[in-house]
Symmetry: C2
Subunit: 362 residues, 2 copies
């Protein structure tokens, strides 16, 4: 039936919620039940992160009338966090819920998925993913691993981490044993720091035992749960290495290809919803957590400008090196830079102008 | 089956995309077909806005296997834009896609849905809606009209509009006939301007004929399509009256109540997805539109600080008046202010700190 026909025939007084029999979707066309397993990299205590994965799975179940069931498991229940990528790749599980920055060693181009140091902010990242060519460009990168990826969350700019001693100059980074995931670590190494890759569940103990001098995770809400303020009191901002930390749904390519079309659409839709909702939850919960941390003894500090300048310079150097050695990185890097510059131009004109005024009054 | 049972029985080598028969969702449980009509307030030429409504409808159709069909119609096809609210309320149509700011005259508390002058930015608005009590608070307001509302998009901070003459001082607002929707108009009136409510399709002609001295719509991408730069060359920023312009899906309460649970979930999910995707599309498309407008003769201007200060002061006055006369407004206003202040505190610490640095380099 053409839309025009429908409009004419149904007329303006059409019954509310009219139930029509015999339309396109009949019981015969119903897609068959499917069951998937998802491993997240997060302990259940990180309820904004792991909780978002659970809400995603529940939503897919609801909208498919219980026929597409995604069983969501927390860190280590069926797959240890560092192995989630491989488990999806080899089909041990159908999907994973990850910060892909942990896997940038497989190809530095993966860094564009998680978010680049001094890169796009969360809104700019969404713009790049959905309307700037990002999703398609990254599909090629992940495709080489037999994986189809979907943005499924974002935590925004991270905090700059917890330190036992103040960072007053670039020299203070020398020899600093700092827990950090992803590309940020490679950049800090250029400045003499010694990056440590430690899963979230083990950071506190490493810090308490003095095995490391500092650690970053996400921001106030999760950091408070992990208790870092009890073992390292200087809390720095901003987390320049992740101006936007995008969270990613990794799906095994064969599992994806085998999925009925309505379920594919359900995955895309529910992932898109969580992309917005996770960010909203973190934004809503960070302020009070920050207040509690400061009340509990955390000392808030901003990285001095010379430190940020040195980090910015080292970032350009590291990204240049990646571009020189990874064709996949190079292919994305140049258009990404243009997109970023355009975004920054536009955000300066409107969003930043109003935000700056709003933050300056009262 | 309990999750633990499943994990044990299925084992780690479970087949990819396993198709299981006889699970919870069988053909017998399938929800019956439903057909809805949606009226948007937008001409089809505003493809980011009207297009988002169409994508929403298509998505709901996909994930319900074509059984829940939402027929999306553009401005005036079945309902004139200013009557969409009433048409949803009285059940002529099941749902509408609107900027609720056009309807704040029904109750000023509706302003919290569209976004308040000098209020929350887009991310803060989402945080308030989903995790700050906003959605529930506004459900009470819309509920009195027999309407259930869902956030279904956001366009971010708007531009400050197009003017035939420069705005150099507060005195320049005196007698200014300015097309503006919503609460911003009430505030400008305090400063001597004469706000005009004109639907988007008629703004250009009014400006061309000199019936008005200026007009605001959204931002570069839509403004370019509407051609305002040809008839008023001074393009001001920021659009302080809408720091976040949230777009709303209005649903007739009875139609909603009659909807099968999986379709309700599909509406919520697809609306959440569009909340993020519409913002991403505008963010991606504004920069090049802005460049073209400037190349085409638009003169970019920032409102002078004394003008912003006067507008800010008038805003507090108008919102105070609303609180004095509308109990619904007052009930939301106080907790909303606390939420806003907390959000601004947090955004200053992290997002704004990094954005400011990023925008300052190179």
């Amino acid at each position: 039936m053409k839309r025009r026909d429908f409009l004419t025939k149904a007329g303006a007084g059409a019954a509310l919620g009219a139930t029509l029999a015999g339309s396109a979707g009949t019981a015969a066309a119903q897609a068959q039940p499917v069951r998937w397993r998802m491993a997240t990299m997060w302990p259940k205590s990180l309820d904004a992160m792991h909780g978002s994965a659970e809400t995603f799975g529940r939503r897919v179940g609801e909208i498919t009338e219980g026929r597409f069931n995604i069983s969501v498991t927390a860190a280590g229940e069926i797959v240890p966090p560092p192995q989630v990528f491989d488990a999806v790749q080899n089909g041990t599980i159908e999907c994973g819920h990850v910060l892909s920055t942990f896997f940038f060693g497989k190809n530095p181009a993966i860094g564009f998925d998680a978010g680049m140091p001094f890169g796009l902010n969360a809104r700019q990242q969404a713009a790049w993913m959905y309307h700037g060519g990002g999703l398609q460009a990254l599909r090629e990168v992940f495709g080489k691993f037999g994986i189809v990826q979907f943005p499924v969350g974002n935590v925004g700019v991270q905090m700059g981490g917890w330190y036992r001693k103040e960072i007053n100059s670039v020299a203070d980074l020398q020899g600093l044993k700092f827990r950090i995931g992803g590309i940020g670590g490679a950049i800090l190494a250029k400045l003499g720091a010694v990056p440590q890759q430690i899963p979230p569940g083990e950071i506190y103990t490493s810090l308490e035992k003095g095995l490391i001098d500092g650690a970053e995770w996400i921001g106030p809400y999760d950091d408070e749960k992990l208790g870092f303020h009890k073992v390292a009191k200087f809390y720095y901002t901003p987390g320049w290495w992740e101006g936007s930390a995008q969270v990613t749904l990794l799906v095994n390519q064969k599992a994806w290809d085998a999925l009925p079309a309505p379920y594919k659409s359900a995955v895309e839709c529910a992932a898109g919803e969580q992309y917005m909702r996770m960010m909203a939850e973190y934004d809503a919960k960070h302020p009070n957590a920050l207040k509690r941390l400061v009340a509990g003894g955390a000392q808030l500090r901003q990285f001095p400008k010379p430190v940020l300048d040195a980090c910015y310079k080292a970032t350009q150097q590291v990204l240049g090196e990646f571009a020189a050695k990874s064709p996949e990185f190079k292919k994305i890097y140049e258009p990404w830079q243009r997109f970023r510059d355009d975004q920054n131009l536009w955000f300066r004109v409107a969003e930043h102008a109003l935000d700056s005024y709003r933050y300056s009054v009262k």
